[in-house]
Amino acid sequence: MSAEATKKIKLATTSLCGCFGCHMSLLDIDERILDLVTLVEFDRSPITDIKTISECDIGIIEGGVANTENVEVLREFRKHCKILVAIGACAINGGIPAMRNSFTLKECLEESYIDGIGVDNPMIPSDQEIPMLLNKVHPVHEVVKIDYFLPGCPPSGDTIWTFLTELIEGKPISFPYEQIHYD
């Protein structure tokens, strides 16, 4: 077998405006992660703590787009990944964070940092190190092209395993009924 054929698939993952629940679900594949690492090499990911992305085969995006850093990271992933996968409710439709879209950003910030119960030293944080919040939380497909969507809050470890194995083996992607849910 040639070196090219045995080369591992490079996989990058990130959590934008999400809760890391989807990453927890990825770890829920349990001991199958040993099978996974024989097939793939993790690039930029909270699991490896690598901070910059190199050219990858698959990018997995958890979370929606809520601030300027999310936009930057998402565009970096699109630029460097051949296949980009939106995973979880937040990436797909904004999810729970998108419930703030019913209010203005000003109202949200004032509720959190000025008027909220138990707020000490009321002040809206403003430092150039803190990414600017967007007016609304957006699903990732509104910012870049997404190749696959894996719904769930979070999708189960089994769903992620079904998807990754079928994708890597070049099979058509299909799931048993119980593995697809929006919550």
Partner: protein, 261 residues
């Protein structure tokens, strides 16, 4: 033919030659479906135990044809099965890739037009919009979300209305008008500004004649009209559509009546 005779025929596995001759049929995905004069495609399919995805249809009420999810192809024309009278010897396509893709697009538009945050909804798992979307293999919302500004009406002691989730199916309108005879609900506005309104001096449900035992309280296919004090009663894994698709389980309204009344 009366239902009990149909049942007998099914049980015996034979058809009386005379009634056989009288029976009109059309083909649903190649399978012969019997129908009577005045039947819609949906009526005949439901009677034969064949599933056509739907949201605004409930056999107890006059067909409405507004959600369009039941579109089928009849002799190369797309129509809503719940309003289209069955035509003898016609070929009805209920499952081609084209029909399923169109249904997905319709569902995606329903999702982006409102605020359907499934992880934060008490109806999740027993929601017909979700279940039909699963059946139609909808994995993403595809379109740009509207994120409309809509309110929640929690003024009634037993029932809450979350307008974010209303898909304008008018089942509550029909139930309140035709069964409860209270006319509590209506759709106001046009086009994208269409919205559900409540018939009370304040526009609030709490000031209307609505009660939790009304038919209108038990027909909502989504989480727009919700009973209070019983949220998340059923654990994940045991909810209506957790294990089996809507094509087998059936409409959520059928179960709501059993549970609450």
């Amino acid at each position: 033919m009366p239902a009990h005779i149909l049942e007998q025929n099914r049980e015996q596995g034979t058809m009386n030659p005379v009634t056989m001759k009288d029976k009109k049929t059309f083909k649903l995905d190649g399978k012969a479906i019997e129908f009577e004069d005045g039947d819609t495609i949906m009526d005949a399919a439901l009677r034969a135990g064949e599933y056509i995805p739907h949201l605004c249809h409930n056999p107890e009420f006059t067909p409405h044809g507004s959600c369009r999810v039941c579109i089928v192809n009849v002799d190369c024309k797309q129509v809503s099965a719940c309003t289209q009278p069955a035509i003898e010897n016609s070929e009805v396509d209920n499952s081609s890739d084209e029909i399923m893709a169109n249904r997905r697009a319709l569902l995606q538009m329903l999702f982006v037009e409102g605020n359907h945050i499934c992880p934060g909804c008490e109806k999740s798992g027993a929601c017909q919009l979700q279940a039909v979307a699963y059946y139609c293999n909808m994995l993403s919302s595809h379109f740009t979300h509207f994120f409309p500004q809509r309110s929640v009406d929690a003024s009634h002691p037993d029932t809450a209305i979350d307008f974010n989730r209303c898909i304008l199916c008018e089942l509550c309108v029909r139930a309140s008008r035709d069964v409860d005879h209270k006319n509590i609900f209506a759709i106001d506005g046009r086009g994208i500004n269409s919205h559900l309104v409540i018939n009370s001096s304040s526009g609030k449900l709490g000031d209307s004649a609505f009660t939790a035992s009304d038919k209108a309280a038990h027909v909502c296919p989504v989480g727009a009209i919700l009973p209070k004090h019983k949220g998340y009663e059923k654990p994940i894994g045991e909810r209506l559509y957790d294990k089996q698709p809507v094509s087998i389980v059936g409409d959520v309204a059928a179960y709501e009546q059993d549970e609450d009344c």
